[in-house]
Symmetry: C2
């Protein structure tokens, strides 16, 4: 984040190069422009290829550069602010929602999710797995798996919508019968699973921001959502500035 | 996050290994235990060293493993939940606070911060830079730079505390005279600056979670905080479950 007078710590070479390169991106390049190849860049800045590569990796982590196969390294547009605030007390799928239901199938929740769900059922038991995508400008910015135990939707029947997006909507509609008492979220660093990576147009293992949400009703966790956001293009926003309408 | 029946996408070799290794960590190793060296592990799982290394990197990204110089690769403890919710309307340094003021000096805010601050002053002008650390069990989990324009603390004098933590406290005390109308936060992926990395006991460039907060008073952004959290050990929590007292 720029140079400050408090920075008295000696910086490694690639870090210094990263700063210099970052300034060059601001002044000499425009968004979407393709960078010269590594050999040229290394020569221009008088550094070894390995040093250059480290600096490029840093700039990619910070969302300044995008590397795409067959295209090369391009200057990334500013990250998109994606609202993940919990100020609206709302069930998934209720009201206006950027999420698009894709599928629903029985899934065995991973151990970490099973621990969050107040399940009376034993380990290894299946729950409803609602798969959704968060779309922005017809691009998926996040992929979600919503884990909903049968006990949370007791009146669900298999008759009218046995599978697919229609089934997902039925499960969410049943969930919305419960009264939502609270929800909480956690954000952490993760790596994209193969199925998420495919939806998000990333390689498996790419760094992602994982947002875990617990939905609480009757003092219990009745649903858990694990949503995977692209870390390269997204900035997760949350807060209570609400009506103040501050430009972002 | 485990195996589900929706996973029909073919997975690359290192990804499959990662899953197998993750399960082995659960069943055969305990927190803090040192893993066998790469050669041994590669032989045990019948994979190439390069494949093994990719899988280890994934597990490190997910916070399952820690690599420490001179120690080797150890099984990481579960990530620590660190509250970053904005439900408490409070100025930095007001009331109980996990943050410890370390220093205060004039700094030139980076371009991204200058854009957030509603500054009448020109570009390149200095603001008060309050440096704080967020301590948990006497370890720094986050390092912060708080940017406060002179206009936000007009009655501050240089007399009683010209520098250091005392100066930082004076600036925060003056800031608290304003009425806090709102705040908002954004979380994004970043890489640790050299000075932050040193405080957080990480290498420069390590992945970090960057939390940017705008403090609003009189309809203007009067202070901006850029806090860098360790991504390996921290899970950022926010939400309104509040009094529900759910085990995390």
């Amino acid at each position: 984040m720029g140079t400050t007078q408090l920075e008295t710590v000696p910086e490694p070479k690639y870090w210094h190069l990263k700063t210099v390169l970052g300034e060059a991106l601001d002044s000499d390049f425009s968004v979407g422009e393709i960078l010269p190849n590594e050999r040229e860049l290394a020569a221009r800045f008088g550094v070894a290829r390995a040093t250059l590569r480290q600096a490029l990796e840093q700039l990619e982590l910070e969302g300044r550069l995008q590397r795409r196969r067959g295209v090369g390294t391009t200057v990334a547009p500013p990250r998109m602010g994606v609202d993940v605030s919990t100020t609206q007390h709302q069930w998934p799928g209720a009201g206006e929602d950027a999420w698009q239901p894709v599928d629903c199938a029985p899934v065995v929740p991973p151990a970490a999710v099973a621990r969050l769900l107040d399940q009376d059922t034993g380990a290894g038991e299946t729950v409803h797995g609602v798969r959704r995508l968060r779309m922005t400008h017809s691009q998926a910015v996040a992929a979600e798996m919503l884990y909903i135990p049968s006990g949370s939707v007791p009146e669900l029947t298999a008759i009218d919508a046995p599978s697919g997006p229609a089934r997902a909507r039925s499960v969410l509609r049943e969930l919305q019968r419960l009264s939502l008492e609270g929800q909480d979220r956690a954000v952490e660093l993760g790596s994209a699973r193969a199925d998420d990576a495919k939806e998000l147009d990333r390689l498996p293992g790419a760094p992602v921001l994982v947002v875990t949400t617990r939905y609480i009703s009757g003092g219990r966790t009745v649903a858990v959502s694990v949503a995977t956001y692209r870390a390269d293009t997204c900035r997760l926003t949350f807060g209570d500035a609400g009506d103040l309408q501050i430009a972002s």
